[in-house]
């Protein structure tokens, strides 16, 4: 196993954020309620990690009103998608003996 962890994206390499980004990777978009159920994070925890991913430009956040109720929809950006694929490659390389 390589000791070089410079290639590991620290934004993604956090369990909660990894769950969020993995979930968004397999869909086109999803709202916070869906992500909360799938990741089993609390609302505050989820919001905090979403903000970090948004600041890193890995996800785009859209807020809108649907049937007079607010909905926050999240979508992986192209950069986010590439970053996740790179992260997976690097982890795989690190784990390959």
């Amino acid at each position: 196993m390589s000791n070089d962890d410079k290639d590991i994206d620290k934004v993604i390499h956090e369990p909660a954020r990894l769950k969020i980004i993995a979930q968004l990777y397999v869909v086109d978009s999803a709202d916070m309620v869906f992500l909360m159920r799938q990741t089993e994070l609390t609302w505050g925890n989820l919001s905090s990690h979403v903000t970090k991913l948004e600041n890193a430009r890995y996800i785009e956040v859209t807020k809108e009103f649907v049937e007079k109720k607010p909905r926050t929809t999240l979508k992986l950006t192209t950069e986010g998608r590439k970053a996740f694929e790179m992260y997976r490659e690097n982890i795989k390389r690190m784990l390959d003996v």
Partner: protein
């Protein structure tokens, strides 16, 4: 997080979209009224508008009111393989061949168009393996094979009864098949919808609290 893990996440997301039973309601309604569209050409435009515009909009409105507040909103990715027609065309060829074989076994005459029309329930039943296979692949749940199996067996039974007890109207068999399948899907969809409403309460979203401030 390997490819299998990601595949499971995608299947979970797909299963989520099926939980409310509204897809079954949509499919059942389409099956129930399809024969009218097919056999009464004057209704074609009305039903195309109904099927393509009104019904999907009604389903989406129902989802916005009942489904998304309970389990959240997700839009699935559409892959290239989802729009590839080759598997469906292959299934269609197999279904037609199987129908030919059944027609021969039951009537001894595959060149009589009447016999083929009376076998339409079986053909349609076999074609239902297409959505069956799609649902199995997308959801990871093998129970969806039952859809193709039940429709094929039902189609065969109706076709067999039509050949043994011929009717004055050759289309009665396919009408009976569409009604039976349509009503079954609608009832199944309604049961699933009511169970969904009971099982999943509306979540207290923090977004509501923030917006009220």
């Amino acid at each position: 997080m390997n490819d299998d893990d990601l595949a499971k996440l995608e299947q979970n997301a797909f299963r989520d979209t099926m939980k409310d039973g509204l897809v079954e309601l949509l499919g059942g309604t389409m099956l129930l009224f399809a024969p009218i569209m097919a056999f009464q050409s004057s209704f074609i435009i009305i039903f195309i508008i109904f099927y393509i515009i009104l019904l999907p909009q009604a389903i989406e409105r129902a989802r916005q009111k009942y489904t998304y507040p309970r389990i959240g909103y997700v839009k699935l990715r559409i892959k290239e393989s989802d729009t590839n027609p080759k598997p469906f065309l292959l299934l269609l060829v197999i279904s037609i061949l199987a129908t030919g074989i059944v027609t021969f076994l039951l009537t001894d005459d595959v060149f009589n168009l009447y016999n083929w029309v009376s076998m339409l329930p079986f053909l349609f039943g076999m074609i239902m393996f297409a959505p069956s296979a799609y649902l199995v692949e997308k959801s990871g749940s093998k129970k969806y094979w039952l859809l193709g199996l039940i429709t094929s067996i039902s189609g065969f039974i109706i076709a067999y009864l039509t050949s043994v007890y011929p009717t004055t109207d050759v289309y009665e068999g396919i009408l009976a098949f569409c009604m039976l399948m349509g009503i079954s899907l609608i009832v199944g969809g309604l049961v699933r919808f009511l169970y969904f409403l009971r099982t999943y309460p509306i979540l207290d979203s923090q977004e509501d609290a923030v917006s009220e401030q």
